[in-house]
Amino acid sequence: MRGIISWGTYLPYRRLDRSQISAFIGQGGGRGTRTVASFDEDTTTMGVEAARLALRGIDTSRHSGPDALMFGTALPAYADRTNATAIHAALRLPPEIPAFDMGASVGSATGALRMGLSTIGDRLIVLSDMRTGLAGSADEAAGGDGAAAFVIGEGDAVVAEYLGGASVTEEFLDRWRAPGEIRSKVWDDKFSEITYVKAGRRAYAAALTAAGVTAEQVDLVAVAAPTARIGSALAGKLGAVKVVDDLTATVGATGAAQPGLVLANALEQASPGQIIALAVCADGAEVMVLRATEAIARFQPARSLAAQLDSGAPLAYGRFLSWRGMIDVEPPRRPEPARPSGTAAARSGDWKFGFVGSRDTTDGTVFMPPSRVSFDGTRTDEMEPAPMADVVGTIATFTVDRLAYSPSPPIVFAVVDFDGGGRLPIELTDTDADEVAIGGRVEMTFRRLFTSDGIHNYFWKGRLIRG
């Protein structure tokens, strides 16, 4: 039996109320909200967050984890170099595990999921995307940011068995964006809708045949499409019992992440034995059919999509525009950070990407960053790795820095004491200045601190644990 072993989803904390858009810019907007990746997030960091949750969900007594990582996004943080390697490093996967980027399109990201399900091996499939456009555009309002990750493999840890799938490949001009452009363009909405509905129906029929199920047997259909309109047009033609929420009203159309997010949404609702179909419209159509197993009854997502939909905090449209680079905001009159050193970063990879400190094997003292020498200076190289990314902590004291350089001032900063030992003074993210207090609980999150000379400086920040 092959299929999904575990999954994780990540929705960024900030939400933009679409009604703010037309009020500010005089056009665009609409009803509902969209998710907004913070100024310190990109598709790589969101992918890390989703993948951490997916790995945490593995029943390790039944499955040993992935042997390959595939990362799909339509907005890669880097060209020429692999983005999946940063995810690989943050997850502390062993070097023997390969890490590949799958193209730079929604269709290719979907292909990573399809190939993961339909071929062999234990795969970690990470899908992540950010969608925006010019101020007042349809993409800006209807888009969303997020990530999803799936561990795929064999055996009785499978929570959703892959039954079969089908593709319909179409070369036609729906959306396009030259590398480096900030907006995608669309040829003709109606043309796209007609083409996608046709391709989607064809792929759906072929996938059901491949899976050996009838349309009546399908319990849950999840549809991911470039727009809510195309998605609902296709869903209406599939004759399904239940179409799960495509999240466009609350999250937005999240591009390469959307197939993963809507599939996760279906899986969170699925009972053992139920048949789930995922239909994706992207340069043609992909349909995958799965059946929830008995194991799904005991699977608890490390952080459910439903819970993430219910959390989050509003973001002012002006700040959204500055985060997306549409408005330049006056920075503090302080020097911008220098580019991180490639060689220094390579030496400290376990710390910088994996958030691994060192623990003194004699007295247990935790060093962040790692130290070779004991606290009292008497012993050298008597340390063991201290992985701290999944350790939570408590705020000992804090401040708000209104003068320091930040892509989005002010900096909220806290001295965090980690449970079981270890202290680090560190920046907090997704945290407003008036929320922080001594005693507050903090978890770690992988972020992009800044970009200098085209080098994305990835490291970890703290994030308040709420509720």
């Binding site: 050193s341 606290f375 003068l403 320091a404 001295v415 202290r423 601190l449």
Partner: protein, 399 residues
């Protein structure tokens, strides 16, 4: 800590100090020339009389050549010194040891910083290539974390803490207003201090040191030679230094209400000078008031106040210009300004003036006349949890 000290073995016989201001018209060379010439004149010596130089600058120049070229020194050794914001003090410490060793008879220390050519606010360290994981907070933010921690530990209400910090800021501005070399020469009201724009945490603009350009210089010789140059030499009683190991940043037992490096440094300095009761014996202190809460905590680390009581001593006026133990009678970093490499020597310059009876009447302290004999300078660099500390004790009499 094992240090023997060089009590009464070296003396400062001449000093110079430029005004500390945003000096758009003068470069580093100008500042060093002005401070040096004032120091030569005050000791009654000429350039050729000086055997060796120590040049402190945090990041305005590199190597001894910067000073040798500016002053056109002729085949003299010049050591460039850097030790964070304690750079100027450290330069003097090294020069004093060289004299005490007998290697040289007469040496000069120059500390200088040209801060205001960067175009940025505050102080900015030049970037050393790194892995990109280091903190990028301002010093103001790091020191602001003292305020809630101190109030919480000692049960001092937020409003009282604010009054204490305001008292420190107002006192230092009051003193600086009486100092022609100071950057800020205006008294400010509590209301001005408390309504100022916030920089970090609860710290406003007036809780932060001024940032200025400036230079200061000192001429040092063996104590027995001092009267060749002046009738009123200042004797070095103690020079102590601690470079912290950064443990406070990662040690959960560190609580941001003390600077352990400074407490240790004070124990050593007082032992060198034979001080047994700092609160009663020290006549004045120039301390590193980079931010108002720094000065508060220093009063305890320097043993002027018992733990948890400095806030009360501040409010009682113990450290005011007319108090029993005046602190920062020249205005301190707060209103004199902070050209990093010069600040440690600027502190000694005030001790030198007060001990020699040369401070202007409007800021002459009364504690010396009341019988106290020692001046203390305290200079730190870094942040809570990770700092360097320097302390000197100086006196006009040789025991």
């Amino acid at each position: 800590m094992a240090s023997h000290g060089i009590r009464d073995r070296v003396a400062i016989v001449g000093m110079g100090c430029t005004p500390f201001i945003e000096n758009w018209g003068k470069g580093l060379d100008d500042l060093m020339i002005d401070a040096s010439n004032e120091a030569y004149a005050s000791a009654g010596v000429v350039k050729d009389d000086i055997d060796a130089y120590w040049f402190g600058t945090a990041q305005s120049a590199m190597s001894g050549i910067a000073l040798a070229r500016a002053l056109q020194l002729q085949n003299r050794p010049v050591t460039r010194v850097e030790n964070y914001c304690a750079t100027g003090s450290e330069a003097l410490r090294q020069a004093a040891y060289a004299v005490a060793s007998g290697a040289y008879d007469l040496v000069m220390v120059v500390g200088a910083e040209k801060v205001k050519d960067t175009g940025y606010q505050g102080l900015n360290a030049f970037p050393i290539p790194n892995d990109g994981t280091a903190r990028t907070l301002t010093a103001a933010a790091m020191f602001s974390m003292i305020v809630p921690a101190y109030g919480h530990k000692y049960g001092v209400a937020d409003e009282t803490m604010r009054s204490v910090l305001t008292h420190i800021a107002a006192k230092n501005h009051f003193n600086g207003a009486r100092n022609s070399r100071a950057q800020f020469r205006k008294e400010i009201t509590a209301e001005q201090i408390e309504k100022a724009p916030k920089m970090a945490g609860t710290l406003g603009v007036f809780d932060c040191a001024g940032v200025a350009d400036g230079a200061a210089a000192a001429i040092v010789c063996r104590a027995e030679d001092a009267h060749r140059y002046t009738d009123t030499p200042i004797y070095v009683k103690a020079l102590s230094f601690v470079a912290g190991n950064g443990s406070g940043l990662i040690d959960p037992s560190y609580d941001y209400t003390t600077f352990p490096e400074i407490a240790a440094c004070a124990v050593d300095a007082y032992a060198q000078a034979g001080v047994t009761n700092a609160r009663e014996q020290v006549a004045m202190a120039e301390v590193h008031d980079c931010f108002t809460p720094t000065e508060l905590v220093l009063m305890e680390d320097l043993q002027f106040s018992e733990r948890g009581t400095a806030w009360q001593d501040v409010l009682d006026g113990l450290f005011d210009l007319d108090g029993a133990l005046p602190v920062n009678p020249d205005g301190g970093l707060k209103s004199f300004g902070h050209p990093v490499g010069a600040s440690g020597l600027r502190m000694m310059f005030e001790a030198y003036l007060q001990l020699r009876g040369e401070a202007p009447p409007e800021r002459t302290i009364g504690s010396l006349a009341a019988g106290r004999k020692l001046a203390l300078t305290h200079n730190l660099g870094g942040y809570p949890g990770e700092m360097v500390s320097f302390i000197s004790l100086l006196g006009a009499e040789r025991d």
